[in-house]
């Protein structure tokens, strides 16, 4: 293995240590990642995790950090622990100096005049931003196939989906194109891609990370969070982006707990870990269930008490989500009308009125899934249906919250598989929206209730050798518990595997450069 190869495989925490010790420079690390992106991201069989690569700015920030470190003194002392550690940002989050597309044609070429709060915080920590990552259009999807810029491929198998909507961020981290990334999670868009790519992803407590500058899909569900290869790395990043922001009126005023310390606790003795009866077993792939059982066994051996809880109202959660999310999305996406930003398409014939321009612009600018959800949301909010649909769904939200409250009286943390299956082949569910929605069945309840969730690699499924995700859930504002349990489970699993799961991923450079096999026509199908 070459030196570059070793450098890009370091965890963010390990890279940060080497940077601080002067063993490697940020320019070297940033360039190594840019080289890796050049090697595996483009071309016919490339990962396509990045929609934009921000090489010049990233290297400039890296050089600035290196200069500060070289000069020493108070400024060097004051550097953030992650200073100089590169990061990728989901292209739903706005950035000055780089385009933001949200994976949509309607925003092609658009540049934001402001930075999202989380981006400001990355800049304050002097983390070089490598670029913007691919996603399902406006974060609507579970496979990244609904991106207007082509699907992202799963580094474990290039003909499979990397999950969604944050498939770009998860694949970038899994393919060693970045040590860290930002994602957004409305119904599982951080956790499910983490599960199917063998990476870690965290959806923080609703309101604990500012949403200012995240292009809104469903405002009462959306949450920005960290994507990484280790639990500790997510804790480090979470600590950078979390905390109150006066520019987000739903931002919680509570101070952030010490998540890094939580990840370093190192024991789960006496903790009560609850299996959610409704979130495993029937409907879950056998290999997923097996790895889930293994994880429970390890936690039990480590001194945790395993209990079973029941959340009977989860049977309505998916339905409620697919009413609330489109309703909020239909309202949030009304602003893309060809007036203030992005695409404007003129009707081919007839009167040139603003209404017709909007209709033509939105017809050309939005993809099928976005149109489906806007129409569904418009329906659920329309007079005569509002109470039956949106109103009922909001009541289910209360029931789901009550289920969690009851569960957390007997358990400190809840556990389930993150997704019912491993990564499925590209194109398989593209024409069956309902089958696609079922991917989110285990992740959605946390968004409805606003509680935090973490997904970490649980091993490979017996039948297909693909990664399985284990999901941990904690009460609102108790994100620290996820890091404590997640880090312990991770170290137990890695001891069993003899190293991180990603070390058993196939050699990507060879696979990407390999012969073009029959391509699944996911792009053409759009």
């Amino acid at each position: 293995m070459t030196e570059t190869n070793e450098l890009i495989r370091l965890s963010a925490a390990a890279l940060a240590e080497k940077l601080a010790a002067g063993e490697v420079t940020s320019v070297e690390a940033t360039q190594a990642y840019l080289d890796r992106i050049a090697e595996v991201d483009g071309g016919e069989r490339g990962i396509n995790a990045f929609l934009h690569v921000n090489a010049e700015e990233a290297l400039a920030v890296a050089a600035e950090v290196d200069a500060i470190r070289a000069a020493g003194g108070a400024e060097a002392e004051a550097l953030h622990v992650l200073a100089g550690v590169p990061i990728a940002v989901k292209d739903l989050i706005v950035t000055i100096g780089q385009p933001t597309t949200a994976g949509s044609k309607i925003l092609e070429g658009w540049h934001s005049p402001y930075d999202a709060t989380v981006v400001e915080r990355l800049r304050a920590a002097k983390m070089p931003i490598l670029g913007k990552t691919n996603l399902d259009e406006f974060a609507m999807g579970s496979s990244t196939e609904h991106s207007a810029y082509g699907p992202t491929r799963n580094p474990w198998d290039l003909d499979r989906i990397p999950g969604g909507s944050g498939g770009g961020s998860a694949a970038a981290v899994a393919a060693f194109e970045a040590p860290l990334a930002l994602g957004t999670d409305t119904g599982g868009s951080i956790r499910q891609p983490g599960a199917v790519t063998g990476t870690v992803g965290v959806k923080p407590t609703y309101g604990s990370v500012s949403r200012y500058g995240a292009i809104a899909m469903a405002s009462s569900l959306d949450q920005i969070g960290p994507v990484s290869r280790t639990v500790l790395d997510s804790a480090l990043l979470h600590q950078v982006i979390g905390g109150h922001d006066p520019r987000d009126s739903t931002s919680l005023p509570d101070p952030l707990a010490d998540l890094v310390a939580a990840a370093k606790t190192g024991n789960v003795e006496g903790l009560r870990i609850g299996i959610i009866k409704e979130l495993h077993g029937e409907g879950y792939q056998a290999g997923v269930e097996n790895r889930f059982r293994d994880a429970l066994e390890l936690l039990k051996e480590a001194g945790a008490e395993i209990v079973e809880v029941s959340c009977p109202n989860f049977q309505y959660a998916l339905g409620a989500y697919y009413l609330i999310m489109p309703s909020e999305a239909s309202s949030n996406l009304a602003k893309f009308d060809g007036v203030r930003y992005g695409l404007r398409v003129l009707p081919e014939e007839g009167a040139m009125t603003i209404e017709r321009v909007m209709g033509a612009t939105r017809a050309a600018g939005f993809g099928d899934e976005v149109k489906r959800r806007i129409i569904l949301g418009t329906y659920a909010l329309s007079a005569g249906y509002y109470d039956a649909y949106y109103g009922s769904a909001q009541k289910v939200r209360t029931l789901v919250q009550r289920d969690f409250e009851a569960a957390f009286t007997v358990a400190d943390v809840l556990i389930s598989p993150t997704a019912p299956t491993t990564a499925f082949p590209l194109g398989e569910k593209l024409d069956d929206p309902l089958a696609m929605y079922l991917n989110d069945v285990a992740t959605i309840p946390a968004n409805l209730a606003g509680i935090p969730g973490l997904s970490l690699p649980g091993g490979l499924a017996d039948e297909d050798g693909l990664p399985v995700g284990i999901q941990l859930l904690a009460p609102a504002k108790e994100d620290a518990r996820l890091y404590r349990v997640g880090a312990v489970l991770e170290s137990l699993l890695e001891a069993k595997w003899g190293g991180p799961l990603l070390q058993s991923a196939p050699d990507l450079a060879a696979a990407v450069a390999g012969p073009v096999e029959t391509l699944v026509g996911s792009q053409e199908a759009k």
Binding site: A320, T353, I354, R356
Partner: protein, 98 residues
């Protein structure tokens, strides 16, 4: 709850300002009927005594001090606009008879 049909979809598409071809309407009506059917159990899940939740962790009266904060220049605000004139967004006629 009533099923969703092609006329409904055409009406909703007009409300949502999305032009749709006849073909698209046909396909969308079929897909949405399946989705709507799958979520209908939601309306029977909760009784009248269950309050609705609109935000998972509600905050009340989130105000800031009434002072001018950061504002965009007209140039910044218009930087992404498809068309502008005299520091304003420029749009096609807003009335049919134009």
């Amino acid at each position: 709850m009533a099923a969703i049909n092609r006329d409904d979809v055409a009406h909703l598409a007009r409300l949502a300002h999305i032009e749709m071809s006849a073909q698209e309407l046909d396909r969308m009506a079929g897909e949405l009927a399946v989705i709507v059917d799958s979520v209908k159990s939601v309306s029977q899940a909760a009784g009248d005594d269950v309050p609705a939740t609109s935000h998972p962790i509600p905050l009340r009266n989130v105000f800031r001090d009434d002072v001018v904060g950061h504002t965009f220049t007209a140039e910044q605000a218009l930087s992404g606009a498809p068309d502008s004139e005299d520091n304003r967004f420029k749009v096609p006629a807003i009335l049919d008879e134009a």
